[in-house]
Symmetry: D2
Subunit: 434 residues, 4 copies
């Protein structure tokens, strides 16, 4: 069984291990995440947006094979030439890929064959890396590792949905419940606005959509010290939140009606009590835990009900830029957002009298910002230009990572993005005000 401590040992620490060591560590984590799952579990695609764990394992290997081994390893012999088409996700310039919604129909290659495929790719990657690679190839390897980390998060997110779809509601694994004490009071961190620099700078890895670093003009604002809790969200529900159109965006109100939303995803009411399906099985909703699995529409409606609004992605970033990365991330092994541990955690410093909490981990935080390009942004030329840029429409930016995000993968400038109706991600709410 996968244990958090095992993961900890292998988390790539940029600059610590060699590239080859880091590579193996990332690959190993993927397999650990899949370990509690049977071959059958790894087949399930419970909706078109999600993918089977087996597919994630194969596709991440395909990424290294397609973009690194084929062009850069002399005499590389692929496992199966048909995989080039078979495990392509969405790179149109490669000449085609299977229909996304059919990934769950593929019993072949079997999980054993996919494992051999991973091994084959790893062996050849080692051959390449041990011989040493030029900087541009090394950059591609690091991109592939970050790509695989994104899929680690998706494996967890998608298997949660897959197992929940099963009427037997099996758990991903049994585990003692996380700590859940009382909620700490919500405070407001005020910011005077003005010109600020946003976007990535530094010499580590970042995605192309985090740059170019540029100046933005912020207006005076306040941002909440912590996430909105289940208890607070239940107040919204009790106050008719899901039946008052004046609280909702037009598309959001339509989504409420079409989908019959009346609570966060994974919640179910039994005998008057709200219960929630987690990766450890179903249990009561704990009031002090951050509300999770809400859409942007719900986050926005909640904020309007509360007389506030969601922060923009830059308001979030300038606050988060001052905070160290850490919290309830993948390595905690919780796989569920957790309450603020203790009042001590909330204690401020002279510089920052009110401490921002839960910025990293727990839940991805919906922002008020549509996902668009930064000024001067140009996607890479060639196939890898399709990685991020082509999705810059109809999606909203989320910030901060969740309890399923690897620690080494997240940072203050990181921009995640999903369409506003999506609920199967670990997504939650932080408020702001003018």
């Amino acid at each position: 069984m996968w244990s958090a401590s095992a993961v900890d040992q292998h988390t790539p620490e940029p600059g610590v291990g060699s590239l080859a060591e880091d590579y193996l560590s990332v690959r190993h984590t993927t397999e650990q995440i899949c370990n509690p799952l049977t071959a059958e579990d790894q087949m399930v695609q419970s909706m078109p947006d999600a993918s089977p764990s087996k597919w994630h394992q194969a596709h991440t290997s395909w990424f290294f094979e397609t973009f690194i081994l084929r062009p850069f390893l002399k005499n590389y012999r692929p496992t199966d030439d048909r995989y080039t088409f078979f495990f392509n996700s969405y790179y149109k310039q490669l000449g085609g890929h299977p229909v996304r919604a059919q990934r769950g129909l593929w019993s072949r290659p079997t999980l054993d064959e996919v494992r051999r495929y991973r091994q084959h790719v790893d062996e050849n990657m080692m051959k390449l890396l041990e011989a040493g690679v030029p900087d541009d190839v090394a950059a591609l390897v690091v991109l592939g590792m970050n790509h695989e980390q994104q899929h680690q998060e998706l494996i967890v997110t998608d298997i949660k949905h897959a197992l929940w779809t099963n009427p037997l509601k099996p758990a991903y694994r049994e585990r003692a419940a996380a700590y859940s004490g009382d909620a700490v009071p919500l405070k407001w961190i005020e910011h005077n606005g003005g010109e600020s620099l946003v976007g990535y700078s530094g010499d580590g890895f970042s995605f192309d959509n985090e740059g170019p670093r540029h100046r933005v003009l912020l207006h005076r604002f306040g941002i909440a010290s912590r996430l909105i809790t289940n208890g607070e969200y239940v107040e919204f529900m009790r106050d008719g939140g899901y039946s008052r159109p004046e609280l909702w965006l037009s598309d959001g109100w339509d989504a409420v009606g079409v989908n019959g939303w009346r609570a966060p995803f994974y919640w179910v009411e039994r005998d008057g009590e709200w219960r929630v399906y987690t990766l450890n099985g179903e249990r009561a909703v704990h009031p002090s835990e951050p509300v999770c699995h809400v859409s942007f529409y719900e986050a926005d409606a909640y904020a309007r009900w509360a007389g506030t609004r969601l922060p923009t992605e830059f308001e979030w970033e300038v606050i988060a830029a001052r905070a160290p990365v850490g919290g309830n991330l993948l390595e905690s092994g919780q796989l569920h957002p957790s309450s603020v541990r203790s009042p001590a955690e909330a204690r401020g410093t002279p510089e920052l009298p009110i401490q921002p909490m839960q910025l990293f981990g727990d839940v991805w935080e919906w922002t008020a910002s549509p996902y668009i390009a930064y000024p001067g942004f140009h996607p890479a030329t060639g196939v890898l230009g399709e990685y991020n840029g082509k999705f810059m429409c109809n999606q909203m930016v989320l910030r901060g990572g969740s309890c399923t995000t690897p620690t080494s993968h997240i940072r203050a400038t990181y921009r995640n993005f999903f369409p506003p109706h999506v609920r199967w991600q670990f997504s939650g709410i932080r408020l702001a005000h003018d």
Copy 2:
């Protein structure tokens, strides 16, 4: 690996073995059919009409548990009470069942658990049968065995579709191609019409929809001595069969347009040659083999093009009633329709100067008869009344069994039924004329 000879040894011969032996034989055949399949293969539901092999194995066990063990075996302890809901197919009076199209999402129970479920049911059935059962319970056991045989056929039919959906087009098993000689000439067996008795009589098993036996008035007709071959069907295609609206029923013409039909299902044209996917993999279309995987609409259009028509189910039955059951059925192990073996096979007798060939096995034969109740038919009261009667609308009758039908399961009065657009069944064409 599953071998035809192994199946032969266990085929239930009514009246030969004891009920317990017959029961075990049927159950064993199901497992043999599934043997070449991995747990992952047995997960696949490639369309809502089809079901995963694992589900078929579980549902057939559920049938015995629900209708025999629970009511009749004292102190029976079910494996899991949730299975009552979980593996119900369509019996509404039992209070609900899962959405059919989601059967492929269920990784749990695992294949191993389903196998244990089968074993548990078998052990308890043995307990019951060895103690001796009254006639009404014995009748239910035989119904359950016939029910399981229907699902044996569906396992083969559905896994063919499942594996074909996979871009890698894997075979169910490798096997030498069946004999395929030249086609024998098509002759016409003439019948003078008049009053005839149709429907089951005898003291063996039959389904409720095969009765009551009753008189029908036939008009003078002729029926073809053999099935239509691929070669003949290609002539229809070459003559613009799929692009001439005057040959088609209105709904059929719509189906051609919406689905883009231009050949039987599983056919693909490569470099000007028609090839076909079979359970042994893809190979060239053999002209003398019976055309297979055509819809009722295509069968009807072919008949119209040929200046003929399809037989009614009663025309078919009065001819078949004179012929012994036999041919290319499940036990042949071909799993594909085959040509008439030799001219000798076609040789007539004084009583029947033109020998009807391929009546049983090879392909289910579309008839011109909508599936409706016989005069005086009443479905059983209670839940099992839902078995056949409630489907008597919008479907057409097929007769004769296919290469995937167990020999002991088929007879001249047997009525199969499918909607007219369906193509994934092993269904073909026999002509008739006035």
Copy 3:
């Protein structure tokens, strides 16, 4: 305003008027039916199955133009060559027609232009008919007249749906309510079965699908003396008719769920009272009137609930063959089914001690017979072969005409057909038993 008496004067009586007089009479009736409707009303297509009144008026003219004037009137000059395509309904061999569901989008040609089109066709038809036509052309003219009568019924049926779709629920016309007394008792007319002749014989007009006349073998049966009333149907509803799966065909049960059926179409419950929308506006449901606007599924479920069944089309026909055509048909001007007028109506004769009532008019009666070809049926060659034959699949036969059927159009051998889920037709229930 259209009055019933005006219609009476012009009803074509075969053999009475000349062909030209009959032609004009039929054409005139169409226009009378449309008279209460504005140009805007005549635009509405409230669902793909229905058509705008303006389209019906144009398409019936197109029929005469396409099949008679163009081939047989020398130097005929069409109004607009584009109408050949524009007003084709479904004749595929003519090379195409607009998408059916878009008929309601065509503001041009305007109603005035369509009226001029009708006039142009009429003037040219008169030119042709006054010069005298050979028998085969005369037969086409009579076919065109019967075709137009079918569309007269559809104009009424479709405009009912169109006006009902409007939240203002306007009436087609204001009119005093029809007589609605108490229901007369339902009795059973018994028949001994045996061989009977069915299908049209005679030298008047009949559709191709009414022949060839042929022998059928009937089994002993009984048929109800009158239609099922609203009051009786309400009993079925109160007894949980719409929530008991055991009463329904599988496809019917699905239709109940998907469409949320819980009463006949056009019924609405207000303050605990069932009310019905009629062409004269909304009013209370009268218990003694025949139930109307039910699907085959509902008719079948009602019969099962009542411990009976629907008659076959031949059982209906042998009874109806002995009865004169008459009753609440189009010329009554009711446009709604009506109660049996008085007990006197139900009085039998020595030959037929129990009088069958309401066989013609009021509502089309669903039969248990799928719509298929009679033995030896061959559709006409050429385009007009598409008239009836190509619909012989997935539909059920209805018999007897309704309150919207012209009297001269109906007879005992007449076969109407609709898919089993359809409810906007004036369709009702007559029971039978074994």
Copy 4:
């Protein structure tokens, strides 16, 4: 027939006429636009996004009745209380409205009744206005007038689609073609960036979404002096623009595939020549006219192909703020975008050496800006808060008005918004670069 000059006389000039005169002028223009249309034309709803002209005429009256007459005119007697529900478009807080897609089914109220409804509203509005109204009511009247102007534009846009849907392709009116000379060269207007003020200021009317006025930080950019022409867009098409995935946003590429886009909407290729449907009928595409009826996806792909990008809404606004409102707007009567008239038009001034052309009128210009709230924006409380704010998601901002926009309705700060796939609006392309 509606003539441009007639419109000119009645265009409301803020500050010139009295409120009552302005009101009547706006109302009159609506009726002039509808004049060339029959009652049948005014029924057509050719897709759910569009509405019938009759509905637009009624809904704009409903706006005055609902928000002004009912609350503020003592003893006001409405025409029909059911209209409150019937002609509500999307104001959820009013308690419901009909399904949008069914507006084309309503033959009642007839056009004559709607005209009487307009007259009734006008008479009562006159009563109110002549008595004098306080400022807050006057503001609502001006909002209602601007609301009606938006619907004037939609009437033109929607009737174009409605008539085009008709296979006969009728023209809205016959009119001599607009001038179309050669294209003037495209030049770049450079801007140094820096902080700028955007959003409405002044004491005229503006929509709530144009404020609050606030500072934004612009980065150095250039913007094109004129719109992209058909000739330039054809170059993109010839260079494989619609078949090169690297040019498209992911959602855009999907839209190309699903809809089969290969040219702007209303274009059709006949014998190798591109032709275009206009409100004056079909004619050849003129190369120097601005390309029109393209989606945001096409505008974005064109810009990428050209090595440029679309401007942000603020880049557009700071340039437009220096230009007077004028150009090919509704009052020109062209109802189609037109070429830059002459090189003289392009002549610069010392202050602005390169003259921006076609900023107002011709086509709405897609910007790179998603439609979101300005900092500090709060929608009005109450029902009218639904006017703009609830649509701030999944839409893109368009600027500048089109050839169907009333002159008095547009200004530099005006924000129009549509989803990125929409093509039936008069929408086109202006380029920018970093």
